[in-house]
């Protein structure tokens, strides 16, 4: 069964069609990618899926339920987590506190619990702490848990973002250009981490990426979009030999500016 199904998705801003009649689905337990030239609308697709943009038309079904036009925090709660293209950490907070934010939607203590430190609240805080540490351990950053997030190296900040997304206990993890700004070694670690997230945690992964080497290596299914439209879909080999994809990336012979 498909974990995520997108039917006829369309998004336009004041007459500008960013996404046009997009259909695709992601199987549970798979690693899928969304690629396309700059400005093709990839991040807009992510923003529609996670509720940050309200699609103009179409339907998004996640885990058997329609999540079209739902609020971002509710979608996260249903099990879809994301990372951002540009790092969006809580900069002045510690690494652990950053990761704890992911546990917010899995906990419930309110102001009364906080003021009186009820047994329930204390237990919950302990669980939040413990699970957040587990997530940090998973990405190999437990040692830095008390450091302020903005003081970490760029590659480590990326890992904090992944740990934070994992802490929401997602079924589907959306990674927006996870390899951007990473060096060769870090990219290798990323590939290994993506596989571990899927294999050990059974989390389905959907990623946007410009690094074709990485995309071809990890993805089982690739969707290619250009100008908001799907132009191809398939596995790495099919995509690499697809003339439409080559055209979108390299341009036709007579059209050099594409």
């Amino acid at each position: 069964m498909a974990l995520l199904e997108v039917n006829n998705l369309a998004l336009s801003f004041a007459g500008l069609h960013v996404i046009k009649e997009l259909d695709f689905s992601i199987e549970e337990g798979s690693i899928a990618s969304l690629i396309g030239p700059n400005g093709a609308g990839k991040t807009s697709v992510f923003n529609c899926l996670t509720g940050f943009y309200k699609p103009t038309a179409g339907d998004i079904v996640f885990n058997g339920k329609s999540i079209t036009r739902r609020k971002p925090h509710k979608i996260t709660r249903q099990g879809m987590a994301r990372t951002f293209q540009n790092l969006r950490l809580f900069k002045s907070m510690t690494v652990l506190e950053n990761v704890m934010s992911g546990m917010h939607c899995r906990s419930s203590a309110g102001p009364v619990g906080a003021i009186f430190r009820t047994g329930f609240q204390q237990k919950e805080e302990a669980t939040i702490n413990e699970f957040s540490e587990t997530c940090l351990d998973f990405v190999g950053l437990l040692g830095a848990k008390d450091r302020v997030a903005s003081n970490l190296a760029y590659g480590d900040q990326r890992r904090v973002e992944w740990a934070r997304a994992l802490a929401t206990q997602p079924k589907l993890l959306l990674l927006d250009e996870p390899a951007a700004g990473l060096n060769h070694d870090e990219k290798q670690q990323l590939i290994e981490l993506i596989n571990r997230i899927r294999d050990q945690l059974n989390i389905t992964i959907f990623l946007i990426e410009h690094d074709m080497g990485l995309v071809m290596k990890v993805s089982e299914k690739i969707t290619v979009i250009d100008y908001g439209e799907k132009i191809a879909q398939g596995n790495a080999e099919e995509i690499q030999s697809n003339p439409k994809v080559i055209e979108a990336y390299l341009g036709k012979e007579e059209d050099e500016t594409a």
Binding site: T50, F52, K71, P72, H73, T76, R77, A81, R82, F84, R88, L89, F90, K91, S92, M93, T94, E97, M100, S101, G102, H104, C105, R106, S107, A109, G110, P111, G113, A114, I115, R117, Q121, E124, E125, I128, V148, R164, T168
Partner: protein, 329 residues
């Protein structure tokens, strides 16, 4: 003149000492010890102070509570509020109206004031949730003025002359009517406010406020309900102000709309920003500075507000993050 200036400065240096030691990286035990010492000093002030000193210090504790309440909105949740005096007015008028016109016992007016100020928090919070900083400042400023003007024009609030003859509260048959009684009442309120602020800050909700303040979109992507979290800040902040207002009304026995002018809101905000937004010791120092500075420099006569303003400008220029040092570097 010697005694009154002496007493407050004991308080201020007591609060200031740990601030000088940058870092404040003491173990929990040392910190508890310092807090206990400060509390004992605060408890003993009435033994060495005259009535003038007590009056000033009572005012300090009162502003500590108000500043801590506003700190929840401004410091924790990062929402600029220029109409905080409105909540303080709501609490004061609730107590004033209920005791003077309906003969309700003072203590019973507190839960009512909590409910009414919480509602006021929802009323101001609800429609302004989508607004950011500067727009929010204008709307809250308007709200503050609306509350004051309503109080000025309604019959039940006593119009422009306000309410008089608010009954003083009694505890177990003992009436609170001396300044020393109110000194302890407001000291306890200030300590309670510190305690509640501290607990909230170090909780799931406190963290959520910080997430929303730092990056609203990222917080939402992490599953945090932005609307609920902000409303909590408004409502809890409003309750702090409302409860402070109840006791203010009981202490003064008379309230008038002019107590809740825009300057009052600005003054409270000043205390929060001056000491350091979001930092409890900082906010306390801010409240101290707010009340004590004009008193200590009373000798300067009409020049003192000018000097106060210049000192504040200097502080903000050299310590834009507030007097209290940032915990994390």
């Amino acid at each position: 003149m010697v005694n009154p200036t002496n007493t407050p400065s004991t308080g201020i240096s007591g609060q200031d000492n740990p601030g000088g030691l940058s870092g404040w990286l003491y173990p929990q035990k040392n910190r508890m010890f310092i807090l206990m010492t400060l509390a004992v000093i605060a408890m003993l002030i009435p033994l060495v102070s005259n009535n003038y000193g007590l009056e000033v210090m009572t005012n300090v504790w009162f502003y500590v509570m108000l500043c801590l309440g506003l700190n929840i909105v401004v410091g924790y949740a990062g929402l600029l509020d220029l109409g905080y005096a409105a909540f303080f007015a709501v609490g004061a008028y609730t107590t004033g109206i209920l005791t003077s016109q309906f003969g309700v016992n003072f203590w019973l007016t507190i839960p009512v004031a909590v409910c009414v100020s919480a509602c006021a928090g929802l009323i101001i919070g609800g429609p302004t949730l989508r607004l950011r900083s500067d727009y929010l400042a204008i709307v809250t400023l308007g709200f503050g003025e609306i509350v004051r003007i309503i109080a000025r024009n309604l019959e039940i609030t006593g119009g422009a002359s306000g309410l008089i003859g608010i009954e003083r509260p009694t505890i177990f048959g003992f009436q609170l009517n001396q300044i020393i009684h109110f000194y302890y009442v407001f000291l306890i309120l200030a300590i309670l406010a510190c305690f509640v602020s501290y607990r909230l800050q170090h909780s799931r909700l406190g963290r959520a406020w910080q997430y929303v303040r730092e990056d609203e979109d990222a917080a939402e992507a992490m599953g945090i309900n932005r609307v609920a979290v902000k409303l909590y800040a408004y409502v809890i902040g409003a309750i702090f102000g409302g409860v402070a207002g109840c006791f203010f009304a009981a202490k003064m026995t008379a309230i008038s709309p002019e107590t809740f002018m825009f300057q009052q809101s600005v003054l409270i905000l000043l205390g929060v920003v001056l000491g350091g937004m979001g930092k409890i010791p900082g906010v306390i120092i801010g409240a101290f500075a707010l009340v004590l500075f004009p008193e200590v420099f009373r000798g300067l006569g009409s020049m003192r507000m000018l000097v106060f303003a210049v000192v504040m400008l200097i502080i903000m220029l050299y310590r834009p993050e507030g007097i209290w040092p940032a915990k994390k570097s």
